[in-house]
């Protein structure tokens, strides 16, 4: 039988104040299984009565060894594992991995594939924000928002299933482009989402934005300022809610984002309510981007033609000997990018999601490291929660929108 391996308070005394040793303050465990830590997060909280003096997060309960496992698989097979890290933004994980491979090998994604990538990434961002608003409102006991958000989310998951066959872990984006072209019903399905959504977002705002109970529980709670955010390398809506308009889609554009016209919503208060407002405004901006990308969707191929990295279409295999040889080499050995290392990053709903990829010229990646945005967000928990009540901890964890699969990999 396994034993739970624990730290004693003695080993952790450098993290808590001296009052914890004497018993004046209480050290409490908000364990891995808890209704409002989203996922398996353990918080060791030092309390003075009901006020939080210090809060130490303990992660690692979802560590899956994905980075080591990817070193044992070829590049194409390793992509399947990337979906499962940040499981709310699955398309984004695939996208950043493929962007890193494209940077390393020099593949170019054609314009039609770029536009479809943008549409799917923005739909995935919408879906992630819907889950966030549902679960964080559920923690503050607004249950109807959760039910409405899940109902909307089904529409987006139906589009993912239409395009790739899978609701969440699609692996639809491949190095060089996409797996296959979108079916004919894609346009109508996405337009239906665009027609229905603005009214639904108004519904959520009607339930929460001017609700005095919600404002009471969220205004002035969990404040952080821009300098701390930059020192701890926090990015995403948490940074934008402190006043700095920083977004990877505008500063280092990828996949053709420079052609679309959208704004970066910011607030200045830096508290839980400001982050809520930023994310709701981001949902509306996403709808704008999807509409522009869908209207301008160009015709053309959806994957690059470079047969050293991209498999040939099956219709050619019966006719051309070269295609057969390329297909054989790609399926048995896998493609071999040149040696070197790159770092690419995109904007995920939590912040900057980046991949560090090092290749040694072989068919398997030598080192893949995902620079995930949830780690800095968890590191600033002590700053956000100092001086608040235990009940406010729940609001704070909901507002920073962490995904533990992202932090632990």
């Amino acid at each position: 039988m396994r034993e739970i391996q624990e730290y004693t308070l003695d080993e952790l005394k450098h993290l808590f104040s001296p009052a914890a040793q004497t018993g004046e303050t209480m050290v409490l465990n908000m364990g891995p299984q808890h209704p409002s830590t989203h996922g398996v997060l353990r918080l060791i909280v030092e309390l003075d009565g009901e006020i939080v003096v210090n809060c130490v997060p303990d992660i690692g309960y979802l560590h899956t060894g994905i980075e080591k496992n990817m070193e044992y698989k070829t590049y194409q097979k390793a992509e399947v594992m990337t979906d499962r890290m940040d499981y709310m933004y699955t398309i984004g994980n695939n996208l950043v991995y493929c962007l890193a491979i494209e940077k390393l090998t020099g593949l170019k994604s054609p314009p039609r594939s770029d536009a479809i990538r943008v549409i799917l990434t923005e739909l995935s961002r919408l879906q992630s924000h819907l889950i966030w608003i549902g679960t964080s409102a559920l923690d503050l006991a607004a249950m109807s928002v959760f039910l409405y958000a899940m109902r909307e989310r089904e529409m987006i998951l139906d589009i993912f299933e239409l395009v790739s066959g899978q609701r969440m872990m699609t692996t639809y984006i491949r190095p060089g482009g996409l797996w296959r072209d979108v079916p004919a019903e894609f346009d109508a399905a996405v337009r239906k989402v665009l027609d229905v959504f603005p009214a639904r977002i108004d519904e959520y705002e009607g339930l929460l934005t001017n609700n005095y109970l919600f404002k009471d529980r969220t205004k002035g709670i969990g404040k952080i300022d821009t300098a701390s955010c930059l020192a701890w390398n926090v990015s995403g809506p948490t940074l934008r809610a402190t006043g700095l308009a920083q977004d990877q889609r505008k500063s280092n554009p990828y996949s053709g984002y420079e052609q679309y016209d959208f704004e970066i919503p910011t607030q200045t208060a830096g508290d839980v309510y400001a982050r809520y407002q930023v994310r709701v405004a981001e949902m509306r901006e996403s709808l704008k981007i999807i509409r522009q990308a869908l209207d301008k969707l160009p015709f053309g191929p959806v994957i690059d033609n470079n047969r050293k990295y991209v498999p040939p279409p099956r219709s050619e295999l019966g006719v051309s000997m070269e295609s057969l040889i390329h297909h054989f080499k790609l399926w048995t050995e896998g493609f071999t990018p040149p040696a070197g290392s790159v770092y690419t990053s995109i904007e995920s709903p939590r912040g900057e999601l980046g991949v560090f990829l090092e290749s040694d010229g072989g068919p398997k990646p030598y080192r893949v490291h995902y620079r995930t945005p949830s780690i800095p967000l968890l590191q600033v928990m002590p700053i956000l929660s100092k001086g608040h009540f235990v009940a406010d901890l729940v609001a704070i964890i909901g507002s920073i929108d962490i995904i533990l699969g992202d932090a632990d990999r």
Binding site: I4, P32, G60, V80, I131, M150, R167, M169, D408
Partner: protein
């Protein structure tokens, strides 16, 4: 010639004690809130309005293991989490059942490495395995109905 024929329309049904208790056990099993990773999102989707779990009496997840009878292990179980899971299972009162939802809980899934337990049945006895990565909400509902059928056929001598 049983009791039913003599009673006519008196509004009385007869059954065995075994069947009555098995039926009542299935109709309001409360799950323990135990979503670990991606399968938890599909479990939340199954509780959402489109694939309602409330019709099985399972709309509320109890946070405390002392108040629940079903543990749906949804997601991958890592080395650090395994003793915690066993601890929670030990705290649940009898009768209790376990559904292993998803490939990672059933057999280790995509991850065959040092960090993930190859199937949660290495530490707790599992009643129903639901396959999929993640399984569709309808798949989870199918697993729950299989569990209900299994509970309905339990015999008095084997009650725990």
């Amino acid at each position: 010639m049983g009791v039913e024929q003599k009673l006519g329309n008196a509004g009385i049904v007869t059954t065995t004690l075994e069947q009555a208790i098995d039926w009542s056990r299935t109709d309001s099993m409360w799950p323990l809130l135990f979503g670990l990773a991606c399968c938890a999102i599909e479990m939340m989707g199954a509780q959402a309005p489109s694939y309602d779990l409330s019709r099985f009496g399972m709309e509320l997840n109890r946070a405390s293991p002392r108040q629940s009878d079903l543990m749906i292990v949804a997601g991958r179980v890592s080395q650090k989490m395994a003793p915690v899971l066993r601890n929670l299972y030990d705290q649940m009162p009898d009768p209790k059942w376990v559904i292993a939802m998803g490939d990672c809980a059933a057999c280790g899934g995509v991850f065959n490495n040092y960090a993930v337990l190859q199937g949660v049945d290495e530490i707790v006895p599992v009643d129903v395995y639901v396959a999929g990565c993640p399984p569709r909400p309808e798949g989870l509902i199918h697993g729950i109905i299989l569990l209900h059928n299994k509970v309905r056929t339990e015999k008095l001598a084997e009650w725990k």
